[in-house]
C-alpha cells in the first residue's frame, strides 16, 4: 500500500514515462523511420542535457565528476518506491548494478510500448552517462527490461582514469588532486514534483526540437497529437483514482505546474513556441474538463 506522497510520486513518474511513450508512438506512427530518428536524436539530447546539468551542479559543489558522484550525489531523477535494484558495487571508477524491477519498463510493457521504451534505454543511458564524464564513460547496458529476452537490467558503467587526458584526472578523481578539500555542501535530489516536472519539460523540449530538425514543421503535428492524448489519458487515469477530480489533484500528480506561467523552466526551454503548444494542446484540454 502506497502513502499519499508515494502515490503522487508514482503518478508523476508514470505520467513522465507515458508522455515519452505517447510522443514516441505518435512520431513513429506518423512518420516511420524519420519519426524514430527524431525520437532517438531527441532522447540523446535529453540525456546530454541532464548530464551537463548534473555535472555543473557537481562542480559547483566541488564534487568530483566520477561514477560515484553520478549515481549517488543529487541525482535529478527522484526516487520511485517501486524500483528494485541490486547494487554490485559503486566506486569512483565504476557502478555495477542490476535493476530487478523498473516501473518505466513495466508501464511501457502494459501499454504495448516496449519498442518505444527500448529506444529510451538504448539512447538515454548511453548519452547521459557518457556525456557526464566528458564522453569518457564506458556505458554498458547489455540487459534491459525493455527487451523481451531479458528479465533484469545489467549496468556496468565505467570511468577508467587511464583513459582520461591529464587535465581531466584531477577533476574526476581525488587521487590526482592532492589539494582537494571535499564537497562544499551536500546535494540532495529534488522532490518528485519538481524533479519530474523538470524532466518532463526537458524531454518534451528535446524531442520537439529534434522532430522539427528532422521533419520540419510537420514534426509539430506529432507532438501536438501526443500532448492532447497525454492530457486525455491523465484525466481518465486520475479520474479513476479520484471521483471528484480537481485541478489541484491533477497537477499534484502530473509533472507540469498548475499554471504554466509558474514554471520557471520555460524561459530556457521554450524553443519554437513550445510553451504555447503545450498550453493549447495540454492545458486547454485539462481546463476544459476540470475547470
Amino acid at each position: 500500500m502506497l502513502t499519499k506522497e508515494q502515490q503522487e510520486a508514482t503518478n508523476l513518474s508514470d505520467s513522465f514515462t507515458l508522455a515519452y511513450g505517447f510522443l514516441g508512438k505518435s512520431l513513429i506512427q506518423m512518420y516511420g523511420d524519420l519519426g524514430e530518428k527524431a525520437l532517438r536524436d531527441g532522447t540523446r539530447a535529453f540525456g546530454r542535457d541532464r548530464a551537463e546539468a548534473l555535472r555543473r551542479r557537481h562542480l559547483e559543489a566541488n564534487y568530483k565528476v566520477n561514477m560515484k558522484s553520478l549515481f549517488t550525489v543529487g541525482y535529478d531523477l527522484p526516487s520511485d518506491p517501486r524500483f528494485k535494484r541490486e547494487l554490485q558495487f559503486i566506486v569512483d571508477e565504476a557502478r555495477v548494478s542490476h535493476t530487478l524491477y523498473c516501473p518505466m519498463a513495466a508501464i511501457w510493457k502494459d501499454y504495448g510500448m516496449m519498442d518505444i521504451g527500448r529506444i529510451y534505454c538504448e539512447e538515454f543511458h548511453n548519452a547521459c552517462y557518457s556525456h557526464y564524464a566528458y564522453n569518457y564513460t564506458k556505458v554498458n547496458l547489455s540487459k534491459t527490461q525493455t527487451q523481451a529476452e531479458d528479465d533484469y537490467c545489467a549496468f556496468n558503467v565505467l570511468l577508467i582514469p587511464e583513459n582520461l587526458p591529464e587535465e581531466l584526472k584531477p577533476i574526476c578523481f581525488e587521487q590526482y588532486d592532492p589539494d582537494y578539500s571535499g564537497p562544499s555542501h551536500p546535494l540532495t535530489s529534488p522532490t518528485a514534483k519538481d524533479g519530474f516536472s523538470s524532466l518532463y519539460i526537458k524531454i518534451l523540449h528535446h524531442i520537439f526540437c529534434a522532430a522539427i530538425a528532422v521533419l520540419g514543421e510537420k514534426g509539430i503535428l506529432a507532438v501536438q497529437g501526443a500532448l492532447q492524448f497525454s492530457a486525455k489519458h491523465a484525466l481518465q487515469l486520475f479520474g479513476q483514482q479520484n471521483e471528484q477530480l480537481t485541478q489541484d489533484y491533477f497537477f499534484r500528480n502530473y509533472p507540469l505546474a498548475q499554471n504554466i506561467e509558474d514554471e520557471k523552466m520555460w524561459s530556457d526551454y521554450d524553443s519554437h513556441n513550445l510553451k504555447q503548444l503545450v498550453l493549447k494542446n495540454f492545458y486547454d484540454v485539462v481546463y476544459a474538463t476540470i475547470p
Binding site: 524514430e36 547496458l141 540487459k143 527487451q147 549496468f155 556496468n156 583513459n163
Partner: protein
C-alpha cells in the same frame, strides 16, 4: 574430445592471446599506470582499425554491413573450438549474446593476468563496433569472464537504421552474406602494430615491449614443443604451417612499416624461426 583440426585452430589462436598477455604484463610491470594508458589506447586503436577495415572490405565486396555479417566474419575468437557462445538474438540491427567459455579469459587466467585481460574486454568491442559502424552502433559489455565476479560475458550490440546515414542504410540493406574469415595473423600483426605505435618514441616503453616480446617468443616456442609432444606429430614445415599462424618472415614483415617490422623481427621472428630450424634439423621433436 578434440580432434587435430580443432587443436590446430586453438593452438593458432593462442599465438594471439599470448601476445596480448605478454605485452600487457610487461608494459604493466615496467611502466605502471603509464603502461596501462598506452596499452588501453593501443587496444582502442586495434579495435577501431579492425572494425573499419572489416566495414571497408565488406562494402567493397558487396557484403551487407550489418551486425549479423560482422559476427559471421569476425566472431571474437575465430575458429577456436574452446569458444562457446549462445545467441539470444542475432539480427542485422541487434545482437544479444552470452559467452560461457572464452579461450582468451582462460589463457590470461592461467598467465595470472586476468586483470590486464579486463582492459581488452573494456576497450576492444566498443572500439571495434565504432570502427565498423562509424560510431553509429553501440556495444554493451555488462559482464566478462576476465572479471573475477562474473561467470559469463553478457553482451548486446545495436546498429539501428534510424541512426544511420543514407549511405549506411544502403550498405545495411543490400548485399550478400559474409563468411567466417581466417584472421589470426592479421590480428597478431595489427595488435603488435598498435602497441608499437604507442611506444615507438619512448625508450623505456620500447624496452618494456621488447621484454614482453622476448617472453612471448619463449612461450610460443614452448607451445610448439608441447604441441608436438601432445599430438605425436613431427616438427617440420608441414607442422608449422598447420599449428603456427606465422607465414614466412618476409611476407609478414612486408605488411608492417619498416621500423615496426625490424623490432618484431629482432625480438620475435629471428629467434622463433632459428629455434624451429634448429629443432627441425636436429629432429629433436621428431617421431
Amino acid at each position: 574430445m578434440n580432434n587435430l583440426v580443432e587443436l590446430r585452430q586453438q593452438t593458432q589462436f593462442d599465438f594471439f592471446g599470448k601476445l596480448y598477455g605478454h605485452l600487457a604484463l610487461s608494459m604493466n610491470e615496467w611502466l605502471g599506470k603509464r603502461g596501462e594508458r598506452l596499452f588501453r589506447q593501443a587496444i582502442q586503436n586495434y579495435g577501431f582499425s579492425k572494425g573499419t577495415a572489416l566495414r571497408q572490405k565488406q562494402s567493397q565486396a558487396k557484403i551487407k554491413v550489418d551486425l549479423k555479417n560482422m559476427f559471421i566474419a569476425q566472431n571474437c575468437c575465430g575458429r577456436d573450438p574452446r569458444f562457446f557462445r549462445l545467441y539470444k538474438k542475432n539480427e542485422a540491427d541487434v545482437n544479444l549474446c552470452e559467452v560461457y567459455s572464452c579461450p582468451l579469459a582462460t589463457l590470461w587466467g592461467n598467465m595470472e593476468c586476468s586483470k590486464l585481460g579486463e582492459w581488452y574486454c573494456e576497450e576492444y568491442l566498443h572500439a571495434f563496433i565504432n570502427g565498423y559502424t562509424e560510431s553509429v552502433g553501440q556495444a554493451n559489455v555488462s559482464n566478462y569472464l576476465t572479471r573475477s565476479t562474473d561467470n559469463r560475458c553478457v553482451l548486446a550490440f545495436y546498429y539501428r537504421k534510424a541512426n544511420m546515414t543514407d549511405e549506411q542504410k544502403v550498405l545495411f540493406s543490400q548485399g550478400s552474406d559474409a563468411v567466417l574469415e581466417d584472421y589470426i595473423l592479421d590480428d597478431i600483426l595489427l595488435l603488435y602494430n598498435c602497441v608499437y605505435d604507442q611506444i615507438k618514441n619512448n625508450n623505456d616503453a620500447r624496452r618494456a615491449v621488447a621484454c614482453g616480446l622476448r617472453e612471448y617468443t619463449n612461450e610460443i616456442i614452448k607451445l610448439m614443443i608441447s604441441t608436438v609432444q601432445r599430438t605425436g606429430e613431427t616438427l617440420d614445415e608441414a607442422f608449422l604451417r598447420e599449428y603456427c599462424p606465422f607465414t614466412s618472415n618476409k611476407s609478414m614483415l612486408e605488411r608492417m612499416p619498416e621500423e615496426t617490422a625490424l623490432f618484431f623481427d629482432a625480438n620475435v621472428l629471428v629467434r622463433f624461426h632459428s629455434t624451429m630450424d634448429k629443432m627441425k634439423k636436429e629432429r629433436l621433436y621428431a617421431d
